[in-house]
């Protein structure tokens, strides 16, 4: 099969635009807030993805850790963004790698903190007679 059409500037419409990214290591952000770094092995017209050698990158403040997750099949609607990576790119905010245990503890604290802020926000909105519509990325589909 002639794949030259895939690799040059000719643009394929829809999810086929990602055919050129197959077997590359990509960063995939999901609707639930998770970030995966994995090799894209396959996809279809709905944007369903097959990811190989995936690891989940948890980032809290400037600390991060990678949790190996293995093989992923993701339903297309849950994908926010698929990014190509270049680790040699100059970065403005340096990250520090910590252990998985540490990042999970930090993440738990962070989620609790955000939950408290969210509760206060909802309370304030209700006091002002506003109906809280929740997080659009998780609810409005």
């Amino acid at each position: 099969m002639d794949l030259s059409i895939v690799n040059n500037d000719y643009y394929l419409s829809g999810m086929a635009a990602l055919v050129g990214d197959i077997d590359k290591q990509l960063m995939i952000m999901l609707r639930d807030g998770r970030t995966l770094i994995a090799y894209l092995r396959s996809l279809d017209q709905f944007g369903n993805l097959v990811l190989h050698q995936a690891f989940e990158r948890i980032c809290v403040g400037r600390q991060y850790a990678d949790i190996p997750r293995g093989l992923f099949v993701i339903r297309g609607e849950n994908v926010l963004l698929i990014g190509e990576l270049d680790f040699h790119q100059p970065i403005r905010v340096q990250l520090v790698e910590v252990t998985i245990e540490e990042i999970l503890k930090l993440q738990k604290e962070d989620i609790e903190k955000k939950g408290r802020i969210e509760k206060l926000r909802q309370k304030a909105m209700i006091e002002h007679g506003l109906i809280d519509e929740g997080n659009p990325i998780e609810e409005h589909y």
């Binding site: 419409s13 829809g14 635009a17 990602l18 990014g83 190509e84 990576l85 680790f87 790119q89 970065i91």
Partner: protein, 96 residues
């Protein structure tokens, strides 16, 4: 299909995309498709303090359904023409 054509005319321009989860990224519009999925090159995240892990992303494919806003360069948009085109589209019955 009007906005698909409209965004196609903006290919190569710098845009800012705001997602429904409040993440904003800027980049050069590389391509757009019928679902308004967008491909950006030379991606930079607007708030690297909040999303430091996205800094190493160079080009990105963003699913159209999760986009809230696309900020456009004002000089490259002919609002007059766009207004006329949108009005034309709603007033004229579509030929199927």
């Amino acid at each position: 299909m009007l906005f698909y054509s409209f965004f196609k005319s903006l290919v190569g321009k710098d845009v800012v995309i705001e997602l429904k989860n409040d993440l904003s990224i800027t980049g050069t519009l590389h391509s757009v498709d019928q679902y308004l999925n967008v491909k950006l090159t030379e991606v930079q995240v607007l708030d690297p303090e909040k999303y430091p892990h996205i800094q190493s992303v160079t080009s990105a494919f963003v699913r159209g359904s999760v986009i809230r806003y696309i900020q456009l360069p004002p000089d490259d948009v002919d609002t007059q023409l766009l207004q006329e085109a949108t009005r034309k589209e709603v007033t004229q019955p579509r030929k199927e």
